[in-house]
């Protein structure tokens, strides 16, 4: 054990052990929260800073927080649409101190409360980094049916990209760019203090590209708020896992008072939005394709032209109107000693393809309680059961969309397969299911043995059992493809995944001198994760036993994967607060992890930050134009651990045949059953270490009607894990992870929001926020011989690269330098195009700019209409669908190939792919603006609500993905055939995101 770690442990024990026995008095903080004109505010949240003590105000705006340690305390009141306020009070032993708050309306909060890694709630004014905060109460849930939808466009610096229109498909979430070439760039997800499984790609068998994301297991209806720690500067205390940022989810809880019953129901429609191009085949008299190039060379004359569009033709189109129904309810309430929140919901969604549906049942229960006057406890549990059917699509040969766009219109194909590339029965026969049950539960406690000390602890587990299954029936056209498919098969993946989290911390708050408060926190964390997967395959299904492996008679195969991982951590955090306006923080976390190489010990992550609410200083001028200003700065480090076995020098067990016997064998590591070549272990592996500093401010202007927020960040990932392609002649692994690279992400985040109109009846708010980001691979490292590691080539048809000096994952192809119709025949022939000699950078599939504009208009409490526009710019997308259709060596069925009026640039692109193998002409500008959300909520008159025995009724009409403005010529500029893949991006027969229209009815009792 390192000296540093020993020191942390000793500090922890020194702080905690002797003091736990010391008793101290308790008191009560009570008061009222009011808003404009002194009107009481119901539902405002009041928290005691540095503790988990909190309360929500009742109908008369009053609150009461009991069991508060006697002595000085900081209390914050906040509510959506109002500027939070914080007060310092002294809690009398056995008595009550009053803290009333008069909140001013403000569309943006300069301070709020966020949950920190220590388990405590802190006022954002104390934090030196930018923390994104989202309250679901302010979001039209009807327009955001998934957690990914909920996040999209809501927090600056967080880019959420919907991969497709597949029901159950996920979204790619990136915060402040991609840090890692080799490890997942998805953020860490924490729910109520517990780490949960957060894979962005979560499907065993392949369906061509789309797969679920575990983020979408969260039910937006049960989420109270989301805090986004955007990078190491904010997330350092999460250590080895937090370099990509942290999404902290807080679920809803009950409040003391009468029981609150709520029910809701949603009904929606999904419309497919693609405009699939015609398939064209122009043939000469001999039946050979007669492209415009051949026409221009006088080598053929078009005798017959065939056109079809099996995806658009009503007689052959597979598309249907999708639908969505959901219903749910909750009850919450409690007393001072205990509160509860219980909810349940059910939803079903039928996608626009018949093979695509989802049913989901969720239950959530949260409780809080007080035991004695020093111990607060809480527990929460959620249960989810899910059944999903996913269609073949994208890069799947028998996906109905690829079969449609790559089909032929000639009479023979029409007769044989309706114009699809293959018999569409293939698509309908192939079934892929994902069924699982997931349970997440946690208990937590907060003990206040003395006024200045609180002890926090929580423990929780996230566990789910999942079954992913591919199967085709016994009698199927697939039987024409050899023995494996004859009489069907079942390929079954069963998963048992569990994450265990335990946290313990102690926080001491001291008044060092008048105006100077010291807060010291020490803690430890142990996290253990395990994925256990068994894949079983069998073919030759017996009649009558076609949905169970019990019916398999041949081609048996079985494999097992275990990926256990554990992280042990200790941390210490110190804060000094000067007159509640200047805050200085420093922290250090140290981790040990299973995946570190055997030669690596503890890894430490430091952080420092400062926050200065300069407008609270006496010298700050009191201006109507500038009401408040907070300056902040932060620096921190966080990490990403290697894969569970990347450091291991190990061998794989296999079966081979020798002298007619099946015998065991071992060889250098492989992936899968000998199909892929594996990674050679590296005993010196360390985590990737990302360090980040940021500077920023928030201010409220013009009588709090306009808010401005700006953050500059500079993030550097060192020791980046490079999956170095080994020279294949070494004859072992294909790659080896090495800590070699460096990746920079620099950028600016901004938000301007304000109230444009506020009258007694109307209020109109608007917000414009976004970010610019510059992602760059600064260093790819050196090989053992001192030579630079060569560019890493990957992606669809090897079109993407990690190249030093350029953004990660950029598109690289031989460029089209020039083209000209030299002979004036209106057509570009291969000799009339000049190609560059080597691949050059053509652009980035990830946006360099993102911006959202949201606005909402309220009319009294009767109605609210809101809209959100989402812009992403500076990105390109490989239109492989078009390239494959237009390549004369592949499908040659695109209209442009045969039409003499095809623009010359398109002709040049076709010639480049057909004759020079370059996709350069099909890497397209994919900037877009989407009308992402529109929602109208009408609160029905109280008289009507009472008539149906409710306290309130509201009706919401919502739409999502309503319109796209773009120059991209493919299906949609946002899609990715490879789902949420780390970098691989392209448009390859991918279903565009659907347009959703939905009605929601909410009632409370």
């Amino acid at each position: 054990m390192s000296k540093l770690h020993k020191l942390l442990v000793i500090v922890f024990m020194g702080v905690v052990s002797p003091m736990t026995a010391i008793a101290q008095g308790r008191g009560v903080i009570a008061g009222q929260v009011t808003g404009q004109g002194g009107a009481p505010l119901a539902g405002a949240r009041v928290t005691v800073t540095g503790t988990s003590l909190r309360a929500l105000t009742g109908d008369n705006g009053t609150y009461r927080i009991t069991n508060v340690p006697a002595g000085p305390a900081s209390v914050t009141a906040q509510m959506l649409g109002y500027s939070p306020r914080t007060q310092r009070v002294t809690v009398p032993d056995g008595g009550t101190v009053t803290a009333n708050f008069a909140l001013e309306q403000a569309p943006l909060q300069i301070t709020g409360v966020v949950v920190t890694a220590t388990g405590r709630e802190e006022s954002t004014r104390e934090i030196g980094s930018s923390v994104g905060h989202l309250e679901t109460a302010n979001v039209p849930i009807a327009a955001t049916p998934t957690a990914s939808d909920l996040l999209a466009g809501k927090v600056t610096g967080v880019v959420v990209t919907q991969s497709s229109g597949t029901t159950g498909g996920g979204s790619r979430v990136r915060i402040r760019g991609a840090n890692s070439m080799s490890l997942s760039n998805a953020p860490l997800i924490i729910v109520d203090g517990i780490r949960v499984e957060s894979s962005e790609i979560s499907l065993g068998p392949g369906v061509g590209g789309q797969s679920p994301s575990r983020l979408d297991d969260l039910n937006p209806n049960d989420i109270e708020s989301i805090d986004v720690l955007k990078g190491p500067a904010a997330a350092a205390l999460y250590g080895t896992a937090a370099a990509n940022g942290v999404i902290q989810v807080t679920t809803k809880r009950g409040q003391a008072g009468r029981s609150d019953f709520r029910v809701w129901t949603e009904s929606g429609r999904l419309n497919e939005t693609g405009h699939f191009p015609n398939n064209v085949l122009a043939l000469d008299a001999s039946g050979n394709p007669c492209s415009i190039v051949l026409q221009s060379q006088g080598r053929c004359t078009v005798a017959t032209t065939y056109t079809s569009n099996p995806l658009e033709d009503a007689a052959t189109s597979p598309f249907q109107r999708g639908s969505r129904q959901a219903v749910g309810g909750s009850v919450s309430g409690g007393a001072e000693v205990a509160t509860y929140y219980l909810s349940s919901s059910y939803q079903q969604e039928q996608g626009v393809l018949p093979q695509n549906q989802l049913q989901r049942l969720q239950v959530q229960a949260n409780t809080t309680g007080r035991i004695g006057d020093r111990l607060n406890v809480g527990a929460n549990v959620s249960y989810l059961t899910n059944r999903m059917e996913l269609p073949l699509s994208d890069n799947a040969l028998f996906g109905i969309i690829p079969m449609g766009v790559y089909g032929y219109p000639d009479p023979a194909t029409i007769a044989a397969s309706q114009g699809y590339a293959n018999d569409p029965a293939f698509f309908y026969d192939w079934k892929t299911y994902q069924n699982y049950a997931r349970i997440t539960g946690a208990v937590r406690g907060e003990y206040h043995p003395i006024s200045w000390l609180s002890l926090n602890g929580n423990a929780g587990v996230d566990r789910y059992a999942r079954e992913d299954r591919n199967r085709i029936p016994r009698e199927s056209p697939y039987s024409s493809f050899g023995s494996v498919y004859t009489h069907g098969f079942i390929d079954n993946y069963t998963y048992d995944i569990n994450d265990l989290t335990t946290n313990a911390s102690a926080t001491g708050i001291f008044d060092l001198r008048p105006g100077l408060v010291s807060t010291t926190a020490v803690g430890t964390q142990y996290i253990r994760e395990n994925l256990h997967r068994i894949e079983a395959f069998g073919a030759g299904l017996i009649p009558g036993v076609e949905t169970s492996l019990a019916g398999a008679t041949s081609d048996y195969s079985v494999s097992e994967v275990n990926t256990p991982n554990a992280t042990l951590s200790a941390y210490v955090q110190q804060q000094f607060a000067w007159r509640d306006r200047l805050f200085l923080n420093a922290a250090l976390r140290t981790d040990k992890n299973t995946a570190f190489g055997t030669d690596i010990g503890w890894i430490s992550y430091p952080s420092v930050s400062g926050s200065w609410v300069i407008s609270d200083e006496g010298f700050f001028p009191h201006l109507n134009a500038l009401n408040s200003l907070r300056l902040r700065a932060a620096y921190g480090q966080a990490g990403l651990r290697p894969g569970p076995s990347d450091a291991l020098v190990s061998f794989t067990g296999l079966t081979t045949t020798f002298q007619k016997n099946d015998v065991g064998a071992f060889t250098f590591g492989t992936n899968g059953s000998g199909t892929l070549l594996g990674t050679l272990g590296n005993t010196n592996l360390k985590p990737e270490r990302s360090s980040e500093w940021e500077l920023g401010f928030e201010s409220q202007l013009f009588n709090n009607r306009l808010n401005a927020e700006l953050t500059y960040f500079n993030k550097t990932s060192k020791d980046a894990l490079v999956s170095v392609p080994l020279a294949p002649s070494v004859g072992s692994g294909a790659t080896q992870f090495q800590n070699l690279g460096r990746v920079d992400n620099k950028g600016v985040e901004y938000r301007l929001s304000g109230t444009a109109l506020r009258t007694s009846a109307w209020e109109w708010n608007a917000s414009l926020g976004g970010s610019f980001i510059n992602n760059k691979l600064v260093d790819l490292g050196l090989l053992a011989n001192g030579n630079p590691v060569p560019p890493i080539i990957f992606g669809y048809i090897s079109t993407q690269r990690h190249v030093q000096g350029y953004p990660l994952g950029g598109y690289w192809q031989r460029p089209i330098l020039s083209y000209a119709d030299a002979n004036g025949d209106g057509m570009i022939s291969p000799s009339e195009i000049t190609m560059g000699p080597a691949a050059t950078y053509l652009g980035n599939p990830f946006p360099k700019r993102e911006m959202t504009f949201s606005t909402d208009l309220h009319f009294r409490d009767w109605a609210r209409i809101s809209a959100l526009f989402d812009y992403k710019g500076g990105q390109q997308l490989l239109n492989f669908t078009k390239a494959f259709r237009c390549n004369v060596n592949d499908t040659f069925n695109c209209p442009e190939l045969y039409n003499p009026s095809t623009p010359l640039d398109v002709q040049a692109a076709i010639e480049a792919i057909s004759n020079y193998g370059s996709y350069a002409g099909f890497v397209e500008n994919a900037d877009f603006v989407k009308l992402r959300e529109v929602a109208l909520t009408v609160n029905l008159p109280q008289t009507f609500a009472s008539r149906v025995r409710t306290q309130g009724l509201s009706l919401t009409f919502a739409g999502r993905n309503l319109h796209t403005w773009t120059k991209y010529t493919g299906m949609d500029p946002e899609i990715n055939f490879n789902g949420q893949a780390n970098f691989t991006t392209g448009d390859a027969a991918t279903l565009p995101p659907n347009r959703l229209f939905q009605i929601r009815l909410d009632a409370n009792f």
Binding site: F481, F537, F651, L654, T655, S673
Partner: protein, 434 residues
Amino acid sequence: MAAAACSSDKLVNITTPDVIPLPIATDPANIDVLKNGVTFEFARALTGPASNNSTPGIVGLSAVMTDEMWYSSTFTTMRDIDRRVIDVANTDLLHGYQYLHRARNLAEQAIAQYPLTPKNNSSDHAMVTNLAGFTYLFFAENFCSGVPFSTTSLNSAITYGPPLTTAQTLDSAIARFNAALLRATAANSLTQKNLAHLGLARALLDKDNFAAAAAEAAKVTDGFEFDIEYSANSSGQQNGVWWNNQSEGRSSAASLEGGNGLDFFSRGPSGTNTTDPRTPADSIGSGLGQAALPLYAALKYPSGDAPVPLGTTTEARLIQAENDLALGTSNTYLTTLNTLRAGIGLTPLVDPVTADGRVRQFFRERAFWLWMTAHRLGDLRRMIRDYGYTQAQVFPSGKTIRGGAYGTDVNLPIPFQEQNNPQFANGSCIDRNP
């Protein structure tokens, strides 16, 4: 808590039960399991893994690049190999190259491990040495000149090797076959002795030393055949050529491919295709995802457990016959060819009289006898190198079955990933000569 901190290693050092730790792999007591690993790697290198869209191994690569097979599915990388326009970034090229190097390296590691065991100089020791020799042979026959040969020891220490010319690569093969011969002799294994003699003969033939090759071939006894085995037990053990061809439909047996392709069978409807018992075929529809491309089954491998002959007496006699051919100046080779044909009931061949006729007749016979056993690409290269033909005269040329044009590659280049080898200074083939 303090106790937990002090035992932190216990909390984070978790064993993964799925993998074999180093001490087990290097234990001399487990030499048989290591030897089995060599046969696994070699079998995979020969035909490729039997799984979705897998690279078909050196047999399939040789077949697709020549007139034995055409590619019948959608992936552009295999299509480019079929039309002989092969980029160094071609991923199927990479996989075939990797498979072969893995088989070679593990065989070399097993060879080094045997002296630590009681099975030193056993027939198994001779076998893995022979298999190592064949990997060098396959590199020489199918890849360009300049392939580097590195090693990874069982404890993962990498030693980078420099590129070798084709002649040096063949010398490496010869060294392995000679070593195998000594071990086979010590073990009194006739099978491994035959395999070593055949390997030597094939390598010497590739070095254009016809007489020495014939002399070694003559030492191969009658009735010899050494197969690389496959099994239907699991998909990882199945014959990858069969899988690609008949299970997935991604590669089709070819006949009359391009301008020079041999008429291995008749391209008619099912049941009418086989015209020669050495190249049985049957029409089985169209290629995977390519309704317009005909698909023919190579019934030499009718099932997933069909073995691939690595060495046979027939091949040895063909090597002897080629020495008799004397570059087309003699017709004495016909005696051997007709003896072999008579053995399966085929009518005797007549002397075409011209040197061109004799050479083409001889190589046609080789092509039929050695169909889909990773000989054809090496043979077409030798027809150019030794007999003076151009690539356009022996390889499929003109219009591909898809309608595009063939390129001019006559061998497989070295994948660009080899540039990570510090000994691979020039970063590409020494030459692309036949």
